[in-house]
Structure formats: C-alpha cells, structure tokens
Symmetry: C2
Subunit: 356 residues, 2 copies
C-alpha cells in the first residue's frame, strides 16, 4: 500500500514534488493539549510509550490539526537500552535515568541485542497499528537513537552536561567503548529492520549527541557506526529501498562525510544555512531541516518570513526545491503554541507550491 | 613593567616563543581545595567576586600549583548587568538569576552604561591588586562577556535551554534587541578599557552563547558587536596595543569572519581541529585553544597524547608553533582532578619546547 500523500518519500528520493513536504521533530508532544490528556490517561511517559493503542493515538494527533506530510512513531530513543536491562525511568520534570548504567568491561560483557518481536514487541505493535490507522494518508517514519547517543545515556546513566564518563572511556579505554558501540549498533540495525518489516516507510537515526565530540572523536566513535547502519539496512534491498535519514545535532562540520555514509538523507540542525548544506553535500543526498525551533516562539509574520528564508536558501543552491524535506533543526518544546505550528506548516506548502 | 614570562603576550602577537604558552579557562575555581576554602570564607560567590583581596587570592592560587603562563582576573561575566541594576544572585547549585530581567522597550530604556570606577570599582581594584601581587611573574588577562551573551542572561533572567525569550525578540523585535545590544556593547567597551587602564595586559571577550544562533542571526546579533568592541578598543592605541582575544563556543563556522574582526586572537572550542582553524584563519590572528575539557577526566597518558595532538595539529598547518596559546575549548569543571591539570600544563611546555 502506497501513501496517498507521497511527497515526503518522493523528496527523500530527490524526485519532483508539487510542494516541499514538512514534518516536525517531536510533532506529537506536550505542546498539544490532547497529548497531555492521553499522557495523563497512561499514567507515565513509559506507560504511554509501551502501550501501542495510546502510542498510536498520540502519533496521529498532530495530523488531525496540521497538514503534515509524515507521521513519526511515538516512542523514545532509549527503548533499546531499556530492553537490554538497564532499567529506564523518567522522573517527572527531569530527564531519563538508568538504574543500571554501563561503567566497565563486565557491564559491557552482559549486553546483548534484544529480541525485537518479544522484548520490543510493543514498538512493532505500535508501528503495525499506526500504519493501519493511518490508512495510507501519509507515510510513517520509524526511528532509533544513534549508537553514540545511546551509549552516552547508557554510560552516563542519564543526561549529562559534559559527558565526562563516556569521554573518559573514549580517551582512556577506546577498545571497550568500541565493543559497547558495536553491540548497540547491531541492536539499532535489528530495531530499524524490524520497524521496517512492521511497516515503517522511512527510518531516521537521531545522533543527538554526536556534536559534543571533537572531530577526531566524531570520526572514530559516531560516524563509522552511522555508516554501518546505512550499509546493513541497504543489504538485500532493491532500488525501492526504505529511505534512511541520518539526523545529527551539531553535524554541520561533517556534511561532506555524511553525504557519503550511505543514507538517503541528512537531517541538519539550524547552525548551518540550508544553502551551505546543499552546496557541501552536492545533491548526493536529500536534506531535511532546518528552522531554529525557537522560531516557533516568534510572531506569525516572523515564522512565515523564516520559513521562506529556509526554503529559498536551499532552492537557490539546488536550482529547485526538490530533495528538501522541511523540518525544524531540533525537536519542539512543550511551551510552544500549536497555532504557530499551523502557520509554519501552511507557509511551507504555500511558498514552495508557488515557486516549484 | 613587563612580565618576566611574556610567552603568552608574544604568542598573541605571533612572535617567536621558547615554548607554547598555556592557561586554562576557569583555572581558578572549585576544582581547587584552596579555592573552596576562600569561597567558604567569602560566604557567597558574589561575596568572593566583589572582594578585591579575596578575588586576588583565588586568581593567584592556580599559579602556585601549576606552571601557567597567564593569570586571569577572578570575576563573573555578569558584573555589567548587575551594575546596570538587574539584581544578580547565585542560588547554591543553580546558575545565575536576575531579579529584574529585561523584557520590553521600557526595560531597555532604563539601561545605562555603569560608571566603571564607582559601580564596578571592585573589579578595577581587583585588577590593580592582582597586578601588584603578581609582581610581573605572568601577564594578567581581563575579560568581559560578549554583548550577545550578556543579553541572553539579561533577557532570559538566567541560564536557558532554548533561549526562547531572546530569540523571540530577535525574530519579532530586532530593533529593540539591537538597542539593548548597543548599550551593552558601550558598557563592555568601557569595562574592558577600564580594566586595561587598571593594569590588564590582555583582554578576552567570552561569547559563550553566540553558537546557539542560526548563521544569519549570528551575523546580525553577535559578530558585528564583537567587531565594534575590537575597533573601539584599538582606537588611540599604538602598535603595542593590549591584545584582544575573542572566544566563542560554537564559533567554528565563523572563523574566517572572526579573523577579520579586528581582534589579535580568536579562541576556539574543541569542535574544530586547530589545524583546520589555522588554515581557515590564514595566520591573520593568533589562535587560542582547544582541548576538549573532558580530556582532563582521562588518564595522564591520554592527556599527554591529546596535548600533543592539539599542538601538532596547529603546527602542521602553521609551519611553526608560533601564534598559538594553548587552552581548553571551554572552562574547567569542579569535579576535575588538579593533578591532571599539572600533567597537561607540563606536557604542553615539554612537547612544544622540544619541537620549537
């Protein structure tokens, strides 16, 4: 079953589109009152994420309000380490916490790739249910955290200001960190493959913390694992393969390398202009992004002006609007105004349709 | 009176040195037990910063332990907005807070450049006292926050995850933000000039938050004000002018422009290799940086290897070690081991002396 609206998939394949497709990272989230209502029903964040019916409900909520061109599975990037036995919890108002973080060789030796249709079945069930409920309206995106980003949480035990533990390991015990990253990469590949088998029509890897690394460390501990994921996912797929988007906060210095990593698209944050990103990737990949999320705090007129600026920045270098998926440069925040999201989504369609 | 050890000033002027000078951002701080003792005596952070004798004491503490090539005034970047009447406080374990943040045109209209020798006299007294107590051992660096960075705290009222208020102003009321930045820039220029007059032998501007801006916003709201500071400070100075270092977290995308902003040196974070920074600045400025601060959590052998990597990265492109001041790419953290600082400082001198 193909999607009635296939703009998003066409843009990822750099094919002509009637207008630029748009979706927003964290488009299903706390800024929506209907999300907060479902979340209250679920009792906790993980209660919501592990319940396929409720996960499906919140995935579809933003599509009812806005003319979005893709849905993204509602889940969390930390489901993999949780299924590995690290004991994930979310304290209200704080970030994620692992009860059993990975600190040494013996902890790493205990890690194994979870079974996707048992230990992570709730995710696959959610994918299947969302595909059914979407009824082909728009494509569904599955996702995973990147190996480096998952390793950050697994080793730090939660969020971190300076990533002191994982970086100490990178400097002083690089072989141990590579062992951990290798197992996590196997798990990410299995996880994304299972989501694809369950019905995800595009896949995104979130390398949220790759940008905290010095260049020689990024090239040793993050980039090669992204490339391995792209390579393994492509294995056995034909020309109509399920597109992979590699998003990374702070990945602007590595755009040339990322455009060669084997992914169909690179998602960029707002710290580089789309024109420069397009010039540096040379049309080898589609680009996704990249409005500063804080733009949504601005006035509707400013939001429209910034949408146009981003669209034009890409098109001026690319020579057309094709090969661009509009998005924010990072996820939405809970205090954003839903009405402003509507202004942005409509502006992207309006301006790009006029000019295509 | 010149300094007995003038390696740091010579490196900033890109003159030959016997070895690469090194100092560390936040070298006087909580990682030192003797700092914590003085801090306890002072009662509060601002009690420490506003007492010239105690500020002098903590400024000199790291020089007693380590073979550092510069001292930096112990103070806070928020002294200017505090003197403007915003009411600065530091809650224990939290960041800075302003009781009266700047939110609208009427708040901006009330701002005035403080008088340096009355309202900020405690800073100038500290500079004079530290110069006297240093006795010419090493040069003294004075500093200020950048206009954009100060404006972030003034408008947000403290630290921020997403800078929603100042960015909303940047998008929707740019003229108002420029009025605020202009007043703050006048204050920064007066502040740095007064520190220079009081005895500071080099000056550093910390653009801590410039790197959160999209490129078109960085070029509108941060960079021009840095250039104005450099230009105004140079006015009336001869060829032996007091060197200005412009440091910015996340400033790698703008190195070409920063090398033309009029400052003698550009301080870079760890997200770019020094070799690339040197290539892109073409020797027009000295470079300061840029070890990932988390390197100090690693083993002594790893610290030495990383020090050598940074030194070599610079020298390979520059053709010599001249024009490089070694530093971290950002400030030190309280949980770092003082012994590791000693390892780093000695490694920088040892490796660069051997090769110069």
């Amino acid at each position: 079953m193909t999607s009635k609206n296939d703009r998003f998939l066409r843009a990822l394949r750099r094919e002509p589109v009637d207008c630029t497709p748009v979706w927003l990272m964290r488009q299903a989230g706390r800024y929506l009152p209907e999300y907060r209502a479902t979340r209250a029903k679920a009792g906790s964040f993980m209660g919501l994420a592990t319940n396929p019916e409720l996960a499906c409900e919140v995935t579809l909520q933003p599509l009812e309000r806005f003319d979005l061109d893709a849905a993204i599975l509602f889940s969390d990037i930390l489901t993999i380490p949780d299924a590995m036995g690290l004991g994930l919890s979310f304290a209200e108002g704080e970030g994620p916490r692992f009860a059993r973080p990975v600190r040494n060789a013996s902890d790493v030796a205990k890690l194994a790739v979870p079974d996707m249709e048992t230990e992570l079945r709730y995710v696959m069930d959610a994918v299947r249910l969302i595909r059914r409920e979407l009824g082909g309206r728009v494509p569904l995106i599955g996702f995973s955290g990147s190996p480096w980003t998952l390793a950050c949480y697994m080793i730090e035990g939660g969020g971190s200001d300076n990533f002191s533990r994982i970086k100490a390991m990178a400097f002083s015990e690089p072989a141990l960190l590579h062992r951990l990253l290798s197992i996590v990469t196997d798990a990410v590949i299995a996880y994304l493959s299972a989501q694809r088998a369950a019905g995800a029509q595009a896949l995104q890897v979130f390398d949220t913390w790759g940008g905290v690394l010095a260049p020689h460390h990024y090239r040793e501990f993050s980039l090669p694992y992204l490339a391995r994921i792209a390579r393994e996912l492509a294995r056995g797929e034909g020309s109509e393969r399920t597109p992979l988007i590699v998003f990374g906060k702070g990945n602007a210095p590595y755009l040339e390398e990322l455009s060669d990593c084997g992914a169909e698209a690179v998602g960029v944050d707002w710290l580089v202009s789309l024109g420069e990103a397009r010039r540096r990737t040379g049309g080898k990949v589609a680009l996704q992004g990249n409005l500063d999320p804080a733009t949504l705090y601005a006035s509707p007129e400013s939001i429209r002006a910034e949408a146009r600026r981003a669209l034009d920045s890409y098109a001026e270098v690319a020579g057309s609007r094709f090969g661009h998926v509009f998005n924010l440069g990072h996820g939405m925040s809970p205090d954003m105004d839903p009405a402003h999201v509507g202004v942005l989504v409509d502006a992207v369609h309006e301006f790009s349709r006029a000019a295509t």
